[in-house]
Subunit: 256 residues, 5 copies
């Protein structure tokens, strides 16, 4: 937390410890269905030995929290970088009332950092997840570049449905500000941390970014992770309920 300068972006404070450079992909890993994004982000940070270069915080929109990692104080939201990838993780779910401001601030930061594409990673809640061996990947793209990348992954197609929560807002704001955004959704448990689904997400990220990331450690530690993250999952579940996440599990009005 030393040697910093601070930047105010749309009501959030960005503490810049090191200027992020040559970022091509900004992977946004927020707590959501199955914690798929958070787990994938955690794995990338550890596997690639990424370094936290930006801390993001707010006295009013976030709970009064300091994260301690290796004896050092950290902000609850952090950007880690390594190779051409930035990974944004948060230790506390963002409350619904603060989401619009946070998402707007994040897209503005992405533009300022000249990120080429925002990658959103999340789970697609599947009631029959337990019967699925290899969870399927779905994609939703905003902007031409994102569509091309999505095509290379050969994802399954969502015919009709709804996306609810932080990634829905992020997609809309990316569209408004013309930042390409690719949303990767992996079939997952709804209310349980799902490291196997996260592994599928990590493999896709490898393909897109060209940065090879091994997922064997993630799969080995799967059980330990489920236990470790059960409280974050519970907090996330509460926040999702307040956000109208249930919309995601009913059909939209219009269909073919």
């Amino acid at each position: 937390m030393t040697g910093i300068y601070e930047e105010e972006i749309n009501g959030f404070s960005y503490y810049i410890f090191e200027e992020p450079r040559d970022l091509e992909y900004l992977l946004v890993a927020l707590p959501d269905v199955g914690l798929v994004g958070s787990i994938a982000g955690l794995h990338l940070i550890r596997e690639l030995g990424m370094k936290d270069v930006v801390g993001i915080d707010s006295y009013t929109a976030l709970p009064p929290v300091v994260v301690i990692h290796k004896g050092e104080a950290k902000h609850p939201i952090r950007l880690y970088t390594g190779k051409c990838i930035g990974v944004l993780v948060t230790d506390v779910p963002i409350i619904p009332a603060a989401l619009p401001m946070f998402v707007q601030s994040l897209v503005q930061f992405a533009k300022m950092s000249k990120v080429k594409m925002i990658l959103s990673i999340t789970g697609l809640g599947t009631p029959k997840r337990i019967e699925v061996e290899k969870p399927r990947l779905y994609a939703l793209a905003v902007g031409r570049e994102a569509e091309i990348e999505a095509g290379r992954l050969n994802p399954a197609k969502i015919e009709n449905g709804m996306l609810v929560g932080p990634y829905a807002l992020l997609l809309k704001e990316a569209l408004r500000r013309r930042v390409p955004n690719l949303v990767l959704m992996v079939e997952s448990f709804i209310d349980l941390p799902d490291p196997e689904a996260a592994a599928v997400a990590v493999e896709s990220i490898s393909k897109i970014t060209g940065v090879d990331v091994n997922v064997s450690r993630l799969l080995e530690e799967a059980e330990k992770l489920k236990l470790r993250l059960k409280d974050l999952m519970k907090e996330t579940r509460n926040v999702m309920a307040k956000m109208g996440k249930t919309y995601e599990y009913r059909p939209p009005l219009i269909y073919t």
Copy 2:
């Protein structure tokens, strides 16, 4: 969601994908009693092969939702057009606190688009709906043009009663801004999606607009629709309760 420009109207964002032209009738299909409006809107869009040309959204007044249709991301409120008709549908009920702003924004948009008449479609909750074979049509008109159209439909007459919710506000705002508004109400179930009532509404819309719309598919798919829309109905019920919808089921003070 590409090739757009954005317009801010009274706190709501209008994403214009294609300039709506030659709109004569703006059919407003909001979730209300029996989902009569939503179902009628859905049927017109599919039967006439309408195209969504405007997306309407708000980060604060609506939940953080993206609708996916045929693999494409859409805003939760959308305007579809075809022939001389525009159909406005929403995938999520609008919360009472946001209604005044939304309705004002909508009437302003109608004026900007030079719409000739706003058609409001909804149900008239009837406790004995189950015994009714062919639900009756009622009409309430604001403005001379609307009265003339209403007359052509030969609707039943509401002697005394109350209209509560989005269509009540819309009627008042239309009056203030001098946009003709015809409210079509069809006898319907209160808390169950009612495709048969919607079919009656569609037939009236055909008569008014002169655009022929077959309702056989709507009647065939009735059971499927009831199932498909049960969650939206439930959400709508909660919103209606907060809006004082119960006023609608008691007599007004003054009577003959």
Copy 3:
């Protein structure tokens, strides 16, 4: 609702269909104890064949309601006029948070209309109402003219007590703006519509205004009215509770 102009008075919209002229008495008939005011207002409007000339509304302070009377759309608060009398009625109780603004707007309107006196009509909740054959009339006057009129009615005297709710605010605002205000209170049921008490109020209004109004129809229809108004009574009860109406049923601090 046609041929109107609109005037904004202290946050409420006044839709003027016909300029009220030569109004001497503005009878304010708000839902309160026993619905005495509302019932008296209803009876005068019907008996004198009064006409609604002003609609009053607010998108934020009132629920989204349109009243339908003889097939025509009406605002929830309306002023009816006939002879030298104006009667203000509302179809929905006004929530406590909106009362100060509404009352201020109303007194300002009374001044603009050059009303000579505001007549407030309400019930005085009596636990032993059932044993009372002819409910007694009480009066409370602000301003010399109101005191003189009160004297002519020879009302019973309230030694000590409290008046709580819309008529308390109205009395205070009338005092501030120097508009004479006479509050007529008739012994009544608290939580039941009380047409017999309303009949006593109507007789007093006849005496004050010099306009003869027969109450026989009111008494004949009493049972029907009690049934018809039971929902409005229930809504009013809820609003009264939030307003601290219970203060009315306990002694004030100071006594002789």
Copy 4:
């Protein structure tokens, strides 16, 4: 309520019926522990034949209440004067959210009226009150003049404790605005009106002001008063709970 002028002081309206002159002591009698202040105030007003010369009110901070006394309408908060004493009483407890504004307005009024000292009268809740025959008097003084007066009463001393509620705020505001303030606390019941404790307070007020006030009538009417004031006591209890009155019954952090 006639012949008045109105003054706005810090959000409260002061209706001046008669300019208060030569006030030396402003006795503030707010509903608090045992209603000791309210009862003492009531007794002084009646015993000295005091006259209400100022009405204090607020449309938003107080419930919509008019007090009727001897057939006349009154504001819920009133200042009575007689000899060199002013007594401020209120018929409704002041809600916590409105307290800061009210207290600031009151001290400003005291300064404008050139009051020499504010006397606060309240109870000191004692669980063993029932065993106490003659309740003891405690005092807390702000400013030299108040300390001198306190000394003359030879009160018991509060070593450690907390004062919570309107009188705590009043003491702090008096200090800020350099108005001497003497808080007299008499051992009393917490949740029951305590006329005996009020009698002790009245005796102290007699000593301080030099105005002789007999307390025999107060003691005779004690039982009647307890019954009469039980509802005000209940309302006060609710307001005290919201204000954190329980702090008063636990020891402070620092002690000798």
Copy 5:
């Protein structure tokens, strides 16, 4: 409370009775886990015979409370000084909504008073506290000077974890304003006052400040203190729950 001047710092009022001079260490003793900070502060104040020189208060952010100590009225938050140490204590927990403003105001005051270092004293909740004989000390430092002091204490190291509540905000604000801040955490009970843990904290403060403070009296009075402070502990527990204190008892996302 006399002879004062008042300073407004970020929405809080600072009543300066005596200008604090030559303060090197500002010990912040807020109610938190095990009341470790409050108890340590209390002990220092009594053992060193410290004097309260500044009172801190707010009409809106704090409950309406006056603290009485030795018969004198005091503000609920107070700064005591003695030697080179200032100790800030509060008699009421600060509600979450007021924390950001309070912490910002406090750091600004620390800068204005030219404090060299802010010492935060709190407990580290340990479920197995009962089995621990000598609670261990942990430290978290912001700024070089704080790190050096921390090193001299040879504290245990927190590898991974979270710090939640007032001390987390204080640490972040100290960092922003570049005031060295050393957070001392002692293993303690979560929901019980823990004088033994406070004794460990006091010993560390002795080492850092060079001011010798005997803890024998603290340990002798331990049982008495636990009883005396049980209500403050209960209030603190409620406030901690609202602040998301539970985050402190689950692992953070990122680990080695």
